[in-house]
Amino acid sequence: MARNARGRWLVVAIPYFWLLALFLAPFLIVFKISLSQDAIAQPPYFPTFDLSEGWDVFREAFGELSFENYGYVLSWDNEFLEAYGSSLWIAGISTLLLLMAGYPIAYAMARAPKSIRPTLLMLVILPFWTSFLIRVYAWIGILSPEGLLNQLLIALGIISPDAPLQILATDWAVYIGIVYSYLPFMILPLYSALEKMDDTLLEAAADLGCTPIAAFWKITWPLSLPGVFAGCLLCFIPAVGEFVIPDLLGGSDTLMIGKVLWTEFSVNRSWTVSSAVAVLLLLVLVVPIVFYQNVQAREVEAR
């Protein structure tokens, strides 16, 4: 049995230590660098901790850590706070739109004949396998002022050629981009919740004189809530930190924190401020992430 115990230990230890080293440890480093200051050096921040120079130097380095970057990020003079707010707002609106678009689709899929359900499911998943970047890129050609949507609307005589719809480079383009790219993530958890539902409940409700709409709100909706939560969180959390969509589809005044972090890092080259932005973003997202984990864990245990 001793060998079994060791084998068992290895199965746990290998992925465990991998994640400790490459997922958890990096966060501690981000936190440490968020307390450091920018320097023109390699690496571009100080203090750096180096035990080879002796204990005193090490301790001194500790004294140089400060919360200055957080003061900078949290000051109203800079656009960071606004960016956090508008990211949450954009992600929230997008999640609502996703739920409104995804629910009817998932519902219809769950009601479809059993024989075609796997095909429908594959059709939902298939676009997800094609590159995210490509799917966002596709919308540039559609939404631009001389793009295909405007061409169609002009051909139909709905809008005049002189005043094309200005959608690209607005927040609306970002909503469309997020809804489009995240839709499978909303549909799949909704579908798996709705599919499990017992149809006889609805029949019983109908027999007892419930209208279909009342039956939906009294039975279907409450039973699908786990799927609703899972889908919304699965879309909302990554959407808050989204970078590609606001960068390619949004305008210069579309303020999202993922884009701000990227700019701070790659254009302004301030590693310390971008670390502080990342730590604060993580703090904002901790509650939904923990909530999401609970939903997931319950889902696994329920089976």
């Binding site: 079994n4 068992r8 199965v11 746990v12 290998i14 992925p15 465990y16 991998w18 994640l19 400790l20 490459l22 997922f23 958890l24 990096p26 480093i29 678009a101 689709i105 219809a108 479809a112 004949p113 594959m122 059709l123 939902v124 998943i125 676009p127 396998w129 094609t130 590159s131 995210f132 970047l133 490509i134 799917r135 890129y137 596709a138 540039i140 050609g141 489009y180 839709l183 549909i187 029949e203 699965l234 990554p238 808050v240 930190g241 970078f243 590609v244 390619l248 993922g258 990227w262 590693w271 971008s274 670390s275 990342a278 973003l281 939904p288 992430i289 984990q293 997931q296 864990a297 696994v300």
Partner: protein, 273 residues
Amino acid sequence: MRKGLSWFNVSSIVLGFAFLYIPILLLVIYSFNASRLVTVWAGFSVEWYFKLFQNQQLLDAAWVTLRVAFLSASVATVLGTLAAITLTRYGRFHGRMLFSGMIYAPLVMPEVITGLSLLLLFVAVGFDRGFWTITLAHITFTMCFVSVVVQSRLVTFDRSLEEAALDLGCTPFKTFFVITLPIILPAVISGWMLAFTLSLDDLVIASFTTGPGATTLPMRIYSQVRLGVTPEINAACTILIAIVTVVVIFASIMTKRQEVERERAERLAAAEA
């Protein structure tokens, strides 16, 4: 209560799929456009595909991307499967909460945070950035997806088969390879494919963790897209879409067939046992 699909159900499916597929379809159609202007149709042409295959930068980037994706997906599949076994078979152990947290958090973690934190780790330990740092980063975030896919299979299958093998004197190691792995193989394969496409697709994490000399295809496409829409990129995208579509359809048919066979074998074995 009427059974089956109402007009409302049908129209939501039709509209939903139209919304999902029309943009991709338009992208493919316009990759065959003779005009350089992407939005003006000027006749059929495959010119851009020829141009594409003369674009050495793009081809180099594609090669880097494929190697990263293959390597990272393979390692991630092993790690993710181990993690899935840990979470479904080992009950409660010290640090389980932390472990499952570290498995689920990367699924929803904004990419900018993952990317930045990994970059700062590589800088802190003095790792040269390039091919290997992208691969390590990709292993880390894709193994969590693999783990979730494999877990969903592990929790549904009949555990008495494993117990029977153990009772008959099989070592846990052998039991895994003879009983467990063949049964969960379809899930492991789809986990690998998911990891492969996620890696193929990733722009943000790769951009953070890359170094000189290692430019991936999404990074190359992104830098060209920022300059504007070009038919050449449409052509590159169309090829990627074609490859992915063929692979996914083929794989789903394969796993479907395998799963049917496995289930039958599983039932037979259970009946005999």
